[in-house]
């Protein structure tokens, strides 16, 4: 039993790494464009289908296929900004309307995937070994995803803090009007952010592909997970999201081992509901008025 729990905790930490990446993407978009991207998991799902198409149908090796997917998911982000988010911002829609419009996208994306690729499970078959340290068994694919996610987070951090473009993005997130006075074009920054968020979904898709088989409703639970983490950590707080990802990863994975997968998700959702009720600013968020 102890070994089982130890395994669950370690797998939870590994899952937490990728979840942190998802939460980071959502946080970035929320922080800069001020939109809750309710269809974020669905973008990851589309990315995974693209990788599957390249690998299984066109015969491209996995790594080039993943690299090919990144600009495409980035373009999807830009298209979303152009076709959905910009009209919403121009119409001065209230947050609720924005939320509903993005929720409508869930229906579009999931059914698009179903029409193109069908409802069956599609997976990329990669022979990766199972590694064991004494009683602990680890899948190599999870390890790659974990360290890859940490590396991606680090490079994103460096991008945001060490480049001029990153500075422009951060200042737009802080105050749009002041940023405009400094000669920053917020419209362009929005596009850049959505492109970065889109590329991020491609990267997540690349890490997920060897682990999970994809189906049209794949994104739903991951969007939910990402939300739970973002709210838990505090909307817009990058560090909070990072910590929250590991908490949720460990909690769901341990609960799943003790009871069932559904109970794991239920516990995560209950945490989410309690956080909204009692501490809406999250673990590390700044107090905001509702």
């Amino acid at each position: 039993m102890v070994e089982l729990l130890l395994n669950a905790v370690i797998n939870g930490i590994l899952l937490g790494g990728v979840l942190a990446l998802l939460a980071f993407g959502l946080n970035l978009i929320f922080g800069v464009v001020k939109i809750i991207h309710l269809a974020y998991g669905q973008c990851v799902m589309l990315g995974m289908y693209l990788i599957y198409t390249f690998v299984d149908l066109l015969g491209i090796p996995l790594i080039p296929a993943c690299l090919l997917t990144l600009p495409l998911t980035g373009a999807l982000g830009v298209a979303l900004q152009w076709l959905v988010i910009n009209p919403l911002l121009r119409a001065k829609a209230n947050p609720l309307t924005q939320l509903l419009a993005l929720a409508g996208l869930i229906i579009v994306f999931e059914n698009l995937a179903q029409v193109i690729w069908g409802a069956d499970l599609r997976g990329v078959k990669v022979p990766l070994p199972l590694i064991n340290f004494g009683p602990i068994f680890l899948r190599a694919s999870n390890l790659i995803a974990f360290f890859g996610a940490l590396l991606t987070l680090l490079s994103l951090y460096l991008f945001l803090h060490k480049t001029y473009l990153g500075l422009a993005i951060r200042s737009t997130a802080q105050n749009v009007d002041s940023a405009r006075l400094m000669g920053i074009n917020p419209g362009l920054i929005y596009y850049t952010t959505m492109a970065a968020g889109g590329i991020l979904t491609g990267i997540i898709a690349a890490f997920f592909s060897p682990i999970y088989a994809v189906h049209p409703h794949f994104g739903g639970s991951f969007t939910m997970m990402a939300f739970i983490i973002v709210v838990l950590g505090g909307m817009g707080s990058m560090l909070g999201g990072f910590i929250g990802a590991f908490i949720i990863g460990i909690v769901t994975s341990v609960t799943a081992v003790l009871t069932s997968t559904e109970m794991g998700e239920i516990v995560a959702l209950v945490i989410f509901i309690s956080v909204i009720l009692v501490r809406p600013q999250g673990l590390l968020g700044i107090k905001i008025s509702r």
């Binding site: 009209p87 829609a93 209230n94 609720l96 309307t97 419009a101 939910m224 709210v231």
Partner: protein
């Protein structure tokens, strides 16, 4: 918008419709429209006052599963099950509603919280798969045509029953409109702090409207379960079911009496039309158009189709 006379003519046409066009298919579609319009109207009781819930699937699931499980295991008549299912939903609404309103959760936070609630109920139904049949769902025991067990092999019975329920939901809407509650809730919806300084009991009124909405939604779910005699956690709870209720109401226009019904009728008709004309070749194709239309309408017609038409005609006068 409608005068009394045109209303009477409209209902006369609807009442005579199954006799003029005795096609089981059309009657089936009309029945589905009535049942879901009943549910979306119940949703709009809350939605129109700014309490946009994306978790009404929770009430659907609680209502339908309570009644149907009691019927299948203990042979309890769905007429009592309907009340018990409704009471379960009300109980749930009291707990969640009190927590939300006490802590002042409103707007998009309320929407996100309720979205999670719908999912919690769906997952709970799946997790207790020994009793509920899990994600495969379960079928109601057949009793043939029986008034006591609210089952019928004649589609026309359900046609009139669900039409009756829909009219009831509209009458409740009218009753809310005339009550003091409507004024209080409108004030709360516009500015909560200002309303509370006027001495309006915010929590009390919000609780009442949430309980009414929850009860009616659960009753509608029982009706739906009795009609299709099959229950599944994905059609009766969870994120997609919850979102679809909200979308139908919003598309039609949640601020007007006829809005939810118009929205529901349009969406169900559109889905059926595309399904029939494109068949199984494009499963999901209708949903893409529907989703895209929704996104466009939410951006450009925030008052919904019916609401915008109504506004247009009022301006002309």
């Amino acid at each position: 918008m409608f005068s009394k006379l045109s209303l009477i003519i409209l209902f006369a046409i609807i009442a005579l419709f199954p006799h003029l066009f005795p096609s089981p298919y059309l009657i089936h579609i009309a029945t589905l429209i009535f049942i879901w319009s009943f549910i979306t109207t119940a949703w709009s009781y809350m939605g129109r006052f700014g309490l946009v819930s994306l978790g009404h699937g929770a009430f659907l699931g609680l209502g339908a599963y309570t009644s149907s499980l009691l019927f299948n295991h203990y042979g309890l008549t769905p007429w009592i099950g309907l009340l018990l299912g409704g009471l379960m939903a009300v109980l749930f609404a009291i707990i969640i509603g009190y927590a939300c309103f006490r802590f002042g959760v409103i707007g998009d936070y309320f929407a996100l919280l309720t979205l999670a609630l719908g999912q919690v109920v769906a997952l709970t139904i799946i997790a207790f798969r020994d009793i509920t049949g899990g994600s495969l769902g379960f079928t109601l025991k057949s009793k043939g045509t029986s008034l006591l067990y609210l089952q019928s092999e004649e589609k026309i019975h359900f046609y009139y029953l669900s039409l009756g329920f829909l009219i009831l939901a509209m009458l409740v809407w009218k009753w809310i409109d005339r009550s003091k509650m409507q004024k209080a809730l409108r004030a709360i919806g516009e500015d909560e702090i200002a309303a509370s300084t006027l001495g309006i009991g915010i929590i009390r009124y919000k609780m009442i409207i949430t309980m009414i909405s929850a009860f009616m939604t659960a009753v509608g779910a029982v009706l739906y379960a009795q009609y299709v005699t099959y229950l599944n956690p994905f059609t009766l709870s969870g994120v997609v079911a919850s979102l679809e209720i909200a979308f139908k109401a919003i598309l039609g226009g949640m601020f007007s009496l006829w809005g939810p019904t118009v929205g529901t009728a349009l969406i169900i008709a559109l889905e059926e039309y595309i399904r029939v004309s494109y068949g199984g070749k494009f499963v999901g194709f209708s949903q893409i158009i529907y989703g895209a239309a929704l996104v466009l309408l939410i951006i450009f017609l925030p008052k919904g189709i019916y609401g915008t038409l109504q506004q247009f005609f009022q301006r002309k006068k």
